[in-house]
């Protein structure tokens, strides 16, 4: 397992020198570099960043917006907070480069309400950034928008609704934000970490970056490690690592399960540690929680479900009602009012939620539910 130090690395040159260098390059060249690097979004959905920027670059519009998603509402994630407190400058460079490439002239940092304490520092940083932009004759203004606490507002279209002053409800897609986003204008939404990684790709070159990771996932990323671990905190690791190695490093010797990709991700039981790769598929959310044998997986799952039933925006049927049914159904099996086989009905229900919910929240509830119920069935029943 390889620890990496890209995201938090110190600057070795004067502030914003990197930015000035990148801004001299052709837009399409930057896009090409990003595509080649294989960088995928770090906000959860794992969409290739180069392709997103390319799509936005191709959309014609008199006004485009560039949003940095710092809503970080997922339980057990705190990596974006670390980035914004330690290396905010890199985030703004990432935004600046993204705005340059896509043609956006307005930037918004959508900051989780609980991170209000950062605003003063960040504003100072923004002031400096604006000065540099002016020097470069680059028309780009960033402002901070404070979120108001709903997890679903981290979903990019709900986030856009909330900036527009509406209820934070995800929109129908298409149109995608890059086609019609904030106030109907093309809008690019990127996670904090994605922007830093994009900046670093431009700085170090795709070839260098590509050397990290596997063909499926390139580069490195931050993991927020929590639970039964001796080393809680944010760690930058090369992608493509398997759970066994991860547990070796961060476990407490008694790890029975690891939740990878946050509450929306999967729960890996001990028997699968060897074959499971963290972040396989597309769930690249950064939270990893370790559970040792003293933990009740039933309690863990109930906790997740309570979170989802509360944090679903409530607009669509499969998610609003599905989350409640899973919660009630699981309890009913535990207390014997429904037979153990009811768990299978509930797993079927998660499939409906996965294919029929409107947004990523409802679609992913089944990941943790099915993986926990399937692997710890006895704990659910007795």
């Amino acid at each position: 397992m390889k620890k990496v130090d890209i995201i938090f690395s110190e600057y070795t040159c004067e502030p914003y020198a990197v930015f000035k260098k990148i801004m001299k390059r052709e837009k399409l060249e930057i896009i090409q570099e990003l595509i080649q690097s294989g960088l995928r979004g770090r906000g959860g959905a794992g969409f290739p960043t180069g392709l997103k920027w390319k799509a936005a670059n191709l959309t014609e519009s008199d006004q485009k917006y560039f949003i940095c998603n710092a809503d970080e509402g997922e339980p057990g994630t705190f990596k974006d907070r670390e980035i914004l407190t330690k290396v905010p400058r890199k985030v703004f460079i990432g935004m600046g480069v993204g705005a340059y490439v896509t043609g956006a002239s307005k930037g918004i940092l959508y900051l989780r309400g609980e991170y209000k304490f950062m605003v003063a520092e960040l504003n100072k940083e923004i002031e400096l950034f604006h000065k540099i932009c002016k020097e470069l004759n680059f028309d780009f203004q960033v402002e901070i928008f404070l979120g108001s606490g709903a997890y679903v507002c981290g979903e990019e279209t709900a986030l856009i609704e909330s900036i527009e002053g509406q209820r934070g409800e995800p929109r129908n897609k298409p149109p995608y934000p890059t086609q019609a986003g904030l106030f109907g204008k093309p809008t690019i939404v990127n996670n904090v970490e994605t922007l830093v990684s994009a900046m670093m790709v431009c700085n170090m070159g795709a070839e260098e970056y590509q050397k990290l990771g596997t063909s499926d996932q390139r580069g490195s990323k931050l993991f927020s490690v929590s639970g039964d671990t001796s080393k809680p905190g944010v760690h930058e690791l090369e992608l493509g690592l398997n759970v066994a190695d991860f547990v070796e490093e961060y476990g407490d010797g008694d790890t029975k399960a690891v939740q990878v990709g946050g509450v929306a991700g999967f729960c890996v039981p001990r028997k699968d540690f060897e074959k499971a790769i963290i972040g396989q598929g597309s769930t690249t959310g950064g939270s990893t929680m370790l559970f040792n044998s003293t933990r009740s997986m039933y309690r863990v799952l109930i906790n997740y479900l309570e979170f989802f039933a509360e944090e679903s925006c409530g607009q669509c049927t499969p998610c609003r009602i599905g989350t409640q049914q899973l919660l009630k159904g699981l309890k009913a099996v535990k207390n014997g009012t429904r037979p153990p086989e009811y768990l299978d009905q509930l797993i079927k229900l998660t499939n409906t939620m996965k294919i029929a919910s409107k947004c990523g929240l409802g679609q992913s509830v089944g990941n943790s539910f099915a993986s926990i119920v399937q692997n710890f069935r006895e704990e659910m029943i007795y």
């Binding site: 129908n172 499969p318 609003r320 989350t323 229900l349 409107k358």
Partner: protein, 594 residues
């Protein structure tokens, strides 16, 4: 430019336009896809997920109401994957629902019930989520809200905001606690709600209904002491048939009258008659305002705006309370009827007005509230005792066991039962304007209004704001001050459009002298008390029917109605006379905006 797209739905080749949704393309090709949150009148929500379909190459299902067509898309609307998901979704909706069909007003006319039937939902799969501590809001004269029957489709919210610009309803809370609320969850009678009932005809279930008064009416019908009269609005006769299984646009005037007589009304009379009376009063009022403005150079509020739509009246009272002078002081035909029934009619037939029970059969939810306004007691009693919607009338006909389709046509009773075609067309947006112009122009010039067959086509139809203008020439001596005046008129419907006109007035840029405003899209034929469903296709059919009724009448101008001439001769004297003022005109009051 239209771009044509070809796609395949259930292996059938379907042509569509770029920008259309899969649902629209399917419907055009007569392929059925179930829906719940979708409504033709409203913006796309895509939240119920009942309309999901499978698109080849995609693992997830997509909501057909919200997904645009693409070339060569291959779509399956009936695959097991789709059917299973839909069944699960409907089962979930049922698990959240206080299913009480046997006692529900929407029984047999409910979209959730239909879906549960189509998908053969087993009520026991999921655990009931119903919280039995729910509260039914019965505070309003017009609207009842039962949250336990809400499927959270947000159709009401979109209606109140997109069509009506009132925003009385909103989505509150999230997740399991998400629900539809009024501002601060206050009772409906305390918030800014116009009682228009548009949310009710857009609600798929029994969560929003009109407050029903049919039990009181049955009670009165069975009371030997009471002389019960009903007046039916023009738009009821073109819609009531739908409640009895007849196609939209069927004209059932005669059958309606016959059915009401069977139910035991002592007298079945016509709101059209008081519509004619409204024209006499309102037309004269307009001319008097013009005279004051042009001859006496007084400062009068122009344009004058119609006041027959109580939802609209409440809207302006809330939203533009400093512009109430623009409203005509005329009561609505329903309220004129009530006042006349308990004075003129009572005297003529020799019944003590206290024993007269006036029922109004209306396309409207707001009329229920209007009947209960404190201003509406000019006869010395409450002028109108009970307001019923077209739906309630339909319900009563069924409950009386009347085989409606087989009825022989009946005739309205006399004394306030004769009406002109001008009264009929009050039913549709533009009708009051057309009727008023037919009369006012003739009063001023002595000639018929200069439109072919008296049909003022520019003010008809569903366009949002319609305009016309008339140049007055060769006026009669009394009206010579109008010579050469080119008068502009406008008609609008739906409160969203009313706002456009009002904002013109506020900005001092309103070129019209007379404006007709109806609260409901399409006017009364699309009223909040009309049969469900109501959509543009159905509105058009009802409209066509009412213009047929008008065109088929010999009597087409209000001022030529012999009963109108008689009521002025025998009772009222002249339009805007002293008695008229007391009985047929009213006052308005400013209300809070919030």
């Amino acid at each position: 430019m239209k771009e044509n797209i070809i796609l395949y739905i259930d292996n059938q080749e379907v042509k569509a336009d770029k920008g259309q949704t899969i649902l629209e393309a399917a419907r055009n090709a007569k392929i059925y896809i179930p829906t719940l949150c979708h409504h033709e009148d409203l913006c796309i929500a895509g939240n119920c997920r009942v309309c999901v379909v499978e698109i080849e190459g995609k693992n997830k299902l997509e909501a057909s109401c919200a997904t645009p067509v693409e070339n060569n898309m291959r779509i399956s609307t009936l695959s097991p994957k789709v059917r299973n998901a839909r069944k699960d979704i409907v089962s979930m909706l049922v698990s959240e629902h206080n299913t009480q069909c046997t006692t529900c007003y929407r029984n047999t006319n409910c979209e959730l019930q239909d879906l549960a039937f189509e998908y053969n939902v087993d009520n026991n799969v999921y655990i009931s989520l119903v919280d039995h501590k729910y509260h039914i809001d019965k505070s309003s004269w017009s609207i009842e809200k039962d949250p336990s029957k809400c499927v959270r489709c947000q159709r009401c919210v979109r209606t109140c905001s997109e069509l009506q610009h009132v925003n009385a309803l909103t989505v509150a809370h999230k997740g399991e606690h998400m629900e539809i609320q009024t501002f601060m969850d206050l009772p409906l009678n305390e918030v800014v709600c116009t009682n228009c009932g548009q949310c009710v005809i857009h609600c798929p279930t029994g969560a929003l209904t009109e407050r029903r008064y049919y039990d009181e009416v049955w009670e009165a019908l069975g009371d030997p002491e009471k002389h019960v009269v009903i007046n039916t609005a023009p738009s009821v006769r073109v819609a009531l048939g739908e409640t009895q299984g007849m196609p939209a646009g069927t004209l059932v005037t005669g059958k309606m009258v016959a059915a009401l007589k069977k139910m035991g009304f002592n007298s079945v009379l016509d709101t059209d008659f008081t519509a004619d009376l409204t024209i006499m009063e309102e037309g004269t009022e307009l001319l008097m305002r013009l005279k004051k403005a042009l001859v006496d150079k007084e400062n009068v509020a122009l344009p004058m705006i119609t006041s027959c739509s109580p939802g609209w009246v409440k809207y302006i009272e809330h939203m533009y309370s400093d512009k109430l002078a623009h409203l005509s002081s005329c009561k609505s035909p329903q309220q004129m009827f009530g006042a006349m029934a308990k004075t003129y009619y009572a005297a003529k037939i020799g019944v003590d007005p206290k024993d007269i029970y006036v029922v109004a059969g209306m396309p409207c939810a707001a009329k229920k509230y209007e009947a209960n306004r404190v201003e509406m007691k000019s006869s010395g009693f409450q002028d109108v005792d009970a307001g019923l919607t077209t739906r309630e009338l339909g319900h009563m006909i069924k409950s009386a066991g009347i085989d409606f389709k087989e009825l022989e046509d009946g005739q309205f009773d006399s004394l306030m039962g004769v009406s002109s075609g001008a009264g009929d067309i009050f039913a549709a947006t533009g009708g009051v304007m057309e009727a008023a112009l037919r009369t006012a122009y003739e009063i001023v010039t002595g000639r018929e209004v200069p439109f072919k067959n008296l049909n003022i086509l520019p003010v008809r139809g569903l366009e949002s704001i319609k305009e016309t203008s008339i140049k007055f020439e060769n006026c009669l001596p009394e009206w010579s001050f109008l010579n050469g005046v080119e008068a502009k008129f406008a008609v609008t419907h739906g409160l969203k459009n009313a706002k456009v006109i009002m904002d013109m007035i506020v900005a001092g840029e309103c070129p019209y002298i007379f404006v007709e405003i109806m609260a409901c899209p399409g006017g009364c034929i699309g009223g909040g008390g009309q049969p469900i469903p109501t959509n543009n296709e159905i509105r058009k059919k009802r409209m066509e029917a009412i213009y047929r009724e008008d065109a088929g009448k010999k009597l087409r101008k209000s001022h030529e109605n012999p009963e109108i001439i008689q009521i002025y001769n025998d009772f009222l004297g002249k339009p805007l006379g002293e008695l008229s003022h007391k009985l047929l005109h009213t006052k308005y009051r400013p209300r809070n905006r919030y």
